[in-house]
């Protein structure tokens, strides 16, 4: 090991690695291990019965489905936002830039109550949909809107710096070689933005899956229809059922972890394809 370490150019490898592992263990791994340990008190049959109960499965569908859709929506519109903020100058730009971070800062319960107030049948926006029989608050659509709201900053903030660093010369070069605007975007700019977009998508998705505070007010929480998985966990805790709660949490953990791994894999693949070393 010593010879391997001494060959490195930067000193302090052992220290930093030790620190990284120690810190990660304390902050992330120990609590997660506690979840797994608690779950491990169940037999496999009990575990399977808990995590595949129809009501729980319905909640996975909503939680993961709505989170994926919300992250996808945020990726498209977050890119557009970041693009406007970086490429154009207009009055109030700084204000809008600061507004993007608000969903981060707002307590999620406040966000949930505000969104419910706006999208309820008698709310500012909800009242225009109500006559057409479209309900937003207290439905799955409401869940989606809350998740889009809380996930917005992730894509904007990951794409923005990359876009700022992007030299206009690339685009000028593309243009001088005869590419039209669409080709310049699709063949030159987009591939360079892709890794940041994927990261933003993954962050927005991960945040949405775990979100409780804001969703719970707007969801309506009807069994089999609009119950999110974190609510299932809370209801189990209300029955003092720690083990059942951790069993469902374990499933969420593994699915999220697997999805994030896939997303990171995609990112690495995209990076290789565009010929950039990571």
């Amino acid at each position: 090991m010593a010879s391997a370490a001494s060959r490195r150019v930067l000193p302090g490898f052992g220290l930093t690695l030790g620190y990284t592992l120690g810190y990660l263990s304390l902050i992330v791994l120990v609590p997660l291990a506690a979840v797994l340990l608690k779950t491990a008190t169940l037999s496999w049959e009990q575990f399977w019965a808990i995590v595949t109960a129809p009501r729980v499965v319905a909640s996975y569908k909503l939680s993961f489905g709505a989170s994926l859709i919300a992250a996808a929506i945020n990726t498209v519109f977050g890119l557009m936002l970041a693009w406007s903020l970086v490429r154009y100058s207009f009055p109030g730009k700084r204000l809008i830039d600061a507004l993007v971070d608000l969903p981060f800062a707002l307590p999620t319960a406040v966000a949930g109550i505000a969104l419910t107030a706006i999208y309820a049948g008698n709310g500012w926006i909800g009242q225009y949909f109500e006559p057409f029989g479209i309900k937003i608050a207290f439905t799955q659509t409401g869940v989606l809107i809350a998740l889009v709201f809380i996930g917005l900053p992730f894509v904007v903030r990951t794409v923005q710096p990359v876009l700022e660093d992007l030299d206009a010369e690339f685009e000028e070069a593309a243009a001088s070689l005869g590419a039209n605007r669409w080709q310049t975007f699709a063949r030159v700019v987009f591939p360079l933005l892709l890794p940041a977009l994927v990261t933003g998508f993954a962050l927005a998705f991960a945040r949405a899956v775990g979100e409780y505070g804001s969703v719970i007010f707007i969801a309506g929480n009807l069994p089999m229809v609009s119950e999110i998985t974190p609510l299932i966990i809370i209801t189990k805790l209300e029955q003092y059922d720690y083990v059942g709660a951790t069993a469902v949490a374990t499933v969420m953990l593994f699915v999220s972890f697997a999805l994030l791994l896939v997303i990171n894999g995609l990112q690495a693949w995209a990076a290789r394809r565009t010929g950039r070393n990571r």
Partner: protein
């Protein structure tokens, strides 16, 4: 390395301070309570502190912690150092007894099953009662929307469910009739809010639903908050009695040597002064004289006791509200 040594030193220092403070009898107690009792206990604490000073010359402090009842109970099980717990349903104290924090016979430690006050589930309807909702039967009719907090996460919701069950069992006869009735009623619920206050918001602010079923104290608070010209309170023919039990956390008071204060604090709730404060906050006092003095606020209503009519709480919890229990069966279609 140095920062690590420093942080350990800081940790030990903090630890030493904390243990030094706990070594002798304290004069601060913590009351861990449920969500909507915040204002009540603020008044109770002020009155109790004055009373205790008058009696003993000692100045005590009472800290409050509020949150969803079951969540609060779990916090205490996990080590939140509550000297006394004041909850809104017996199972939240039973769980403390199961964990050895509270005496098994906590119900007999204070009068009235250790519940210094009660409330009842009532209906709140829109002004003039346009859907003519008079009793439980009207809530189960087709086309009526009822707002009830989620019985899986809220004591308020559980009492509503049990009140409807008790009504049906008595007036329609038998458990299977009760089950059919409750199924119909809960099919009329368009939104399940996490707690009583959330359901209030949905009904009053979002204009969802024809009736809100909630505790009398919450219904009266809404009437005051929004003006009597917006909502009417409807008293059904029969309702559930929802006693709010209190207990001493033996483990903590023995360690902190605060048993005497804790005992006096809970006893104070039963004193005429305590009962008057309770009535002021729209909870039904136990004291006959105080109840009579507030007759206008608390119309007489026939009530039933959950344990007497439906069964012991432990059993009710298991057959009705546990995962896969009757409640789950009727709402999961």
């Amino acid at each position: 390395m140095l920062p690590r040594i420093l942080s350990w030193a800081g940790f030990l220092l903090a630890f030493t301070f904390i243990s030094a403070f706990t070594a002798y009898a304290q004069t601060t107690i913590l009351n861990v309570s449920y969500d909507v009792s915040r204002e009540l206990y603020k008044d109770i604490n002020t009155a109790f502190i004055a009373e205790w000073r008058k009696k003993t010359g000692q100045t005590v402090a009472v800290n409050q912690s509020h949150g969803g009842s079951s969540k609060q109970a779990l916090s205490v099980v996990s080590g939140l150092e509550a000297d006394v717990v004041t909850m809104n349903q017996a199972p939240d104290i039973d769980i403390l007894a199961e964990n050895g924090l509270v005496a098994k016979d906590w119900r007999s430690k204070f009068p009235n099953g250790a519940a210094p006050y009660t409330s009842v589930s009532v209906f709140l309807v829109r002004k003039g009662n346009p859907k003519n909702i008079k009793d439980w039967g009207d809530l189960a009719k087709p086309g009526i929307q009822v707002i009830v907090p989620n019985p899986k996460t809220s004591g308020n919701g559980r009492y509503t469910y049990l009140a409807a069950w008790g009504y049906a069992q008595q007036s329609l006869g038998g458990a299977s009739a009760a089950r059919d009735f409750v199924t119909k009623l809960f099919a009329n619920v368009p939104v399940f809010d996490g707690g009583g206050r959330g359901a209030t918001t949905t009904f009053t602010q979002r204009d969802v639903g024809d009736a809100l079923v909630t505790f009398e104290n919450e219904a009266r608070l809404i009437a005051v908050e929004f003006g009597a010209d917006k909502f009417d309170i409807v008293y059904p023919s029969i309702s559930v009695e929802a006693p709010a039990p209190a207990a001493i956390n033996d483990k903590v008071v023995d360690k902190k040597q605060t048993r005497e204060i804790a005992q006096a604090y809970l006893s104070f709730l039963y004193s005429p002064e305590g009962q008057a404060i309770i009535a002021k906050h729209d909870f039904r006092p136990r004291d006959e004289a105080v109840l009579r003095a507030n007759q206008a606020k608390f119309p007489s209503i026939k009530t039933f006791d959950v344990e007497a009519l439906i069964g012991p709480w432990a059993e009710v919890r298991k057959t009705h509200f546990a995962d896969g229990g009757i409640y789950d069966q009727i709402v999961v279609k």
